[in-house]
Amino acid sequence: MENGFRIARRDVITALESGNYLHVSRGDIEVKNLLASGAISASEVAEIIRSCKGSHHSSSPHHAVASVEVHVLRRRGWYIKFYVIEPDTWFISVHQ
């Protein structure tokens, strides 16, 4: 789990810093994704994620496609949910 967390944290921070990420849509714009709506910046999200430790992380298989691992970070009141489908990191939720 700890190793999975470190890899996920590295990948998501790299994605945020480079701008190479995408937002999940289910036919609409998820209002709980504040990164997608511009209410929080990528650098602010990266800063929150940098402060996360393994204890702030959990993961589980995606409910629709079990081979995709969904990561959740809970830190400073923030809830950040994402997955990676190489080569992209996909944000599902970023909210307080």
Partner: protein
Amino acid sequence: MKILLEGDAGKALCEHCKAVVQTHYVRRDVPFSDGQGMARDILVGACSQCDTVVAIPPQSTPAIREARKQQLRSIEARLPAVYLDVLDAAMHAVSCEAGASLRKLFLAHYFQMLVQNHQSEQLQPAHQAFIEALEQHRQQRGLAASSSTRRLSMKVNPHMAEDFMALQQQTHMNQTELLKSVIARIQSDVLEARDQHVIHTLQHLARLAM
């Protein structure tokens, strides 16, 4: 950041197809998930199998942000009449010269205060207490439930709109429920607790605005 163009291809997880699918980038009008408005003509990734929008690139974020702001520059709701009576009574208690024109100012102050102090989670309990107290009064006096409503309509500046949007996102309340809850909180502070700090702040604001 890689800038995507119409016609670009990619892959994404499509929940409708329950698979990782091929996508193609197109321009679409995409609604917000809370049903309040939409971002028009933004670049999105659509599933090549079912055509559902499955991807939003970060380059569409500025247009989404602008659409969200525009949507909320007008706050309108039809509330049970007692809520506006309570709001007006609280304003009158703060300043006997404060008329309905200051409703927006009082609400703006509370939106900002609730966001800055991270107190949005207190709204629901305050509203519940208000509803229960009203119901108790009604039953004690043997009164029938009223269906009277009054309209609250405000054109708001982007700062107030942002605070209101943040509260909606934090509480998951719709516009009407949020306004009712904030009014219940004002009633609790001003009319019930007679919080002198709150009252002095509102008196100061009212003096500036009149």
